[in-house]
Amino acid sequence: MKEIITAENVKLSYGNYEALHGINLSFHEKELTALIGPSGCGKSTFLRCLNRMNDDIENIKITGKIMFEGQDIYSPKMDLVSLRKEVGMVFQQPTPFPFSVYNNVAYGLRIAGIKDKELIDQRVEESLKEAAIWEETKDNLNRNAQSFSGGQQQRICIARALAVRPKVVLLDEPTSALDPISSSEIEETLMELKKQFTFIMVTHNLQQAGRVADQTAFLMNGNLIEAGPTEKMFIAPEKQITSDYLNGRFG
């Protein structure tokens, strides 16, 4: 399986405080990787490094290398807009913009300068279908996206992320604000979508990682403790501390 993103010795500091102590981790194409670990372990911070969402934080220093399809994303030559088109993101709280479903999903395409109405129509429909929210929105495309339920809003946000045809989608606890049924629907959607896209997901729901992730990476105190195939991590991890965390012994 081809590696699509490779992090080499990634360190991140806020002023004098080092939050990531040198992370080495690769992500395979068309797989879902779960990043797990106690609160404050650096998993979200690390996730946000992968499409440079931390750039604007004051006093931040990031060293090491993150390669996306062989390109160093922190190189001065990297175009941020095109990076984020390729590496999209979905957040913990559903964040639909305060306008219609259609305009939400079309938003990224318009930013990218696409004006062809037919192409946008087609892409909106495709993306909503991929995010498994088409049936619930097809007759209400002009309804305000914020008037849908939390689970539906999150799937609209996934559709919005998919509309620009990214290669990787970063998910920051995408179901933690949702009820179990909506969470399970999102999980099913991800299982289907990972045939086409690469996902990297921060989650506190360990059972969810077990259910959907191909690879699981365990971080603690800014270090990568262990990463590997999810089945191995959940049955026979290399380190006792990984087993302890998975069993809720701390964190």
Partner: protein, 225 residues
């Protein structure tokens, strides 16, 4: 919260080990009663035959409860699953010991083929030693010891084959002893089965320790039945 889980697990492990030691004694009592024609002793075992299945059920219920309520994963998962599976094999060993006791009660006449009785004594000694060793490997998470125990099963199988030849030879010499000698077939066969269950126990020790689940029986081994 997790302390409670570990505490429950520790108790379960102790209960499992106690059951193991009890089953081991049962093998000894059963074969001694058989060789000594001690029907009273055998009957006492049969009267108490519910004890092992009852214990097994209790362990399994506790393990299932831990699975359902605590949802252990990784190391903890392997420990609970291993107990769950190993308990069944231990219970089968106990059943085989009771079957030897039943055969002791059932046997008519007084067949004596001293060489076969010697093999039965040796097989008994060896399976009991293997059982204690596999339980030790279980407690100590000793993968190598478990594999060594499993490898010894081929000696049990060889002894069984040898016993069969001797029994047939004995019947040929004195056909009137045929009915009584059939008990020797039953008992050696039961001891051979106990060896197979010990191999299964060893397999669960390896799983508990490493997460790898593989047959430990020698693949080239001649099928004994």
């Amino acid at each position: 919260m997790h302390e409670i889980f570990l505490d429950e697990l520790k108790k379960l492990n102790t209960q499992f080990m106690e059951m193991g030691v009890f089953v081991n004694d049962e093998i000894d009592h059963a074969t001694r009663a058989f060789v000594d024609h001690d029907k009273a002793r055998a009957q006492a075992m049969v009267d108490d035959e519910e004890k092992i299945p009852h214990e097994s059920l209790d362990i399994q219920q506790k393990a299932l409860k831990l699975m359902a309520l605590q949802q252990p994963v990784a190391t903890d998962f392997r420990v609970v699953i291993s107990i769950l599976k190993a308990t069944t094999d231990l219970e089968r060993i106990g059943e085989n010991a009771i079957s030897i006791a039943l055969e002791t009660i059932r046997v008519k006449g007084n067949p004596r083929i001293p060489e076969v009785e010697e093999i039965i004594s040796n097989m008994t000694h060896n399976v009991r030693h293997m059982l204690i060793q596999v339980l030790t490997a279980y407690v100590q998470d000793d993968e190598k010891m478990a594999k060594d125990v499993a490898a010894k099963d081929s000696e049990i199988d060889e002894a069984y084959v040898k016993a069969r030849h001797l029994i047939i030879g004995g019947i040929e010499k004195d056909p009137s002893a045929a009915v009584a000698s059939s008990s020797y077939f039953v008992v050696t066969r039961l001891l051979e089965r106990i060896g197979d269950h010990i191999v299964n126990l060893a397999m669960w020790v390896v799983y508990k320790t490493t997460g790898e689940l593989n047959e430990l029986a020698n693949p080239t081994e001649e099928k004994t039945i």
